[in-house]
């Protein structure tokens, strides 16, 4: 039975990966993922700085961009696009029934689709992290780069960013896949999650831990404090809590994803085809 399930999961992944990677409608996900690389490359080409202070600034800037733009916006919306499309997009295209008419358990369909979304998102977003890394740091002197990467913390920083990006895809991906299965209009849960994750800065310490972003921030190698705005009352509410150990954060995100995917799989058994209402 496992062999059959594996073959079926692979078949689903082959079908869905082609759709996710090469669909014209998914072009914006590539743009979103690679968007930070453009100014970084321009910075490398146009503003050639020398010296350790600029290098240090670039390290801080990368950490800030990763934490406040890449995780919160690029990967968040990218996962909305990729994972909600897996089920809800098929409903809109009126083609989900082809999966449901095959001799495949609904749970296997869901796992196959989740894995294909995961492979696509991890490839796109982790790939983009590498491109950004190269774009931002390539103009610095080779000796400085070598000492940062091989004798300093550079390599472990890069690995941490890659792990954080992959974990973001797992965490947000599972949540948005479930939203696509459970909700006719998954924009509603997406907007609620966006608001919740955006409000992370002002949430009480306990509630901060019920957001994906808190655990992702814990994996990031450099902690950047939440930025304060112009509103003085709101600024009083902004504070940071100590990050969790990276291993605990990864484990928690995996547990969250596992729980959400299992729940979505159970609910997928009850999916009915009703394209008229899409």
């Amino acid at each position: 039975m496992m062999t059959l399930w594996n073959r079926q999961i692979l078949a689903i992944m082959r079908i869905d990966l082609a759709k996710t990677f090469f669909a014209k409608r998914g072009l914006w996900i590539y743009l979103l993922a690679l968007s930070p690389a453009v100014p970084m490359l321009l910075h490398s080409l146009l503003d050639r700085h020398e010296g350790n202070s600029d290098f240090g600034q670039d390290v801080q800037i990368f950490a800030g961009i990763f934490q406040f733009f890449y995780l919160r916006i690029a990967i968040f919306f990218g996962c909305v696009g990729i994972f909600m499309n897996l089920f809800r997009g098929e409903m809109v295209d009126k083609s989900l029934h082809y999966y449901l008419l095959a001799p495949v358990r609904r749970e296997v369909i869901l796992v196959g689709k989740f894995l294909s979304g995961l492979v696509a998102s991890v490839t796109i977003f982790c790939g983009s992290v590498l491109v950004q890394w190269c774009s931002l740091f390539c103009h610095h002197p080779a000796s400085l780069l070598n000492s940062y990467m091989f004798t300093g913390p550079g390599a472990s920083h890069l690995v941490s960013y890659l792990v954080a990006a992959a974990c973001a895809c797992v965490g947000y991906g599972s949540v948005f896949l479930a939203a696509g299965v459970l909700f006719r209009n998954p924009l509603i849960p997406a907007a609620v999650i966006l608001l919740w994750e955006s409000a992370d800065g002002i949430l009480p310490a306990l509630l901060k831990k019920i957001s994906v972003i808190y655990w992702l921030k814990s994996i990031c190698p450099i902690s950047i404090p939440s930025p304060k705005g112009n509103n003085s009352i709101l600024n009083l509410l902004i504070f940071d809590v100590d990050p969790a150990p990276a291993r605990v954060a990864i484990l928690n995100l995996m547990l969250l994803a596992g729980f959400v995917v299992v729940w979505a799989a159970i609910r997928a058994r009850r999916i009915e085809i009703g394209y008229g209402s899409e």
Binding site: S35, P36, M40, F77, L136, N185, I188, A191, N231
Partner: protein, 286 residues
């Protein structure tokens, strides 16, 4: 001999004037929008802060009540900043409303081939866009322009004509800020739904334009050590315009109000071009 059965009788009742025909689209639009219980609850919730603000304005001028807590009427300053903050809060809600309502106005017509049906009537593309825009515009106005003008009127009536005369510019600021927000949000909502045709993704794109614009602008500012990234931050641009209209511009703003106006107008022109390109009756099937 041919026999012609003349059984068909065309409509011979009164017609809506061609000048106001675009308003026809509104007749059933609201009913369709508020069929969603979630949207109805969300829309009603948008009036929570204005109602609270009305109570606050009343209490702030109620001498007997304030005397009980040892304060004089007007102990809290109601000025342009107060109205600006209020506008900011309502504008955020208007943005969310646009993301949910805007795409539902156009995307289904395009996805289900209803646009040719509209345009095969004496109804132009311009009237279609105007009609659909008016639906969204009236909803946005009902949670931004009207509550703000009402609050301004209440404050004027409570404090007196002198306050009104001295702060007339606030009224102007409310009017022009809200109109700018309405135009931008209407064009954004309509263009995104015409662009992707899938209601849900169009809604996500509306939110993404705000979030990604802000984020990407910050990336540019951070990496390039510049403030030009603000030109991509629609929320910041609208806020800069409103700040200027409320006469609250700081001494050395990252971008001038004039530049913000120019960027917003450029943005609107781009959205109009997108609408013009996507809202067509004919298309080539791929």
């Amino acid at each position: 001999m041919a026999v012609y059965k003349r059984t068909y009788k065309g409509y011979s009742g009164p017609l809506t004037s061609p000048l106001w025909r675009f308003t026809v689209l509104q007749r059933y639009a609201f009913k369709a929008i508020f069929k969603s219980r979630f949207l109805l609850i969300g829309y009603v919730a948008c009036f929570f802060v204005p109602l609270l603000a009305i109570c606050f304005l009343y209490l702030n001028q109620n001498a007997s009540l304030l005397a009980m807590v040892g304060q004089k009427p007007g102990f809290l300053k109601i000025d342009a900043g107060w109205f600006h903050n209020f506008l900011t809060a309502q504008a955020v809600l208007a943005g969310v409303l646009t993301a949910f309502v805007g795409p539902g106005l156009v995307a289904p017509d395009l996805a289900n081939g209803a646009l040719p049906v509209y345009l095969s009537r004496p109804f132009s593309r311009f009237e279609y866009i105007l009609g659909k825009g008016l639906v969204l515009g009236s909803l946005i106005a009902s949670i931004t322009l009207f509550p703000l003008l009402t609050l301004f009127g209440i404050q004027s009536s409570l404090v007196g004509y002198q306050w009104f005369e001295k702060n007339l510019y606030i009224g102007g600021g409310i009017l022009f800020s809200c109109l700018t927000i309405m135009v931008v949000f209407i064009l954004l909502g309509l263009s995104m739904s015409a662009f992707v045709r899938w209601r849900i993704v169009a809604g996500a794109l509306v939110l993404a334009v705000f979030a990604a614009g802000k984020g990407f602008g910050a990336v540019i500012n951070g990496v390039m050590r510049t403030s030009n990234g603000y030109y991509l931050d629609l929320q910041y641009l609208l806020s800069t315009i409103a700040t200027d209209l409320f006469r609250q511009t700081p001494e050395d703003p990252p971008i001038s109000p004039l530049s913000a106006w120019a960027a917003v107008i450029t943005f609107c022109v781009l959205l109009l071009l997108l609408i013009n390109r996507k809202l067509r009756v004919c298309e080539v099937a791929g």
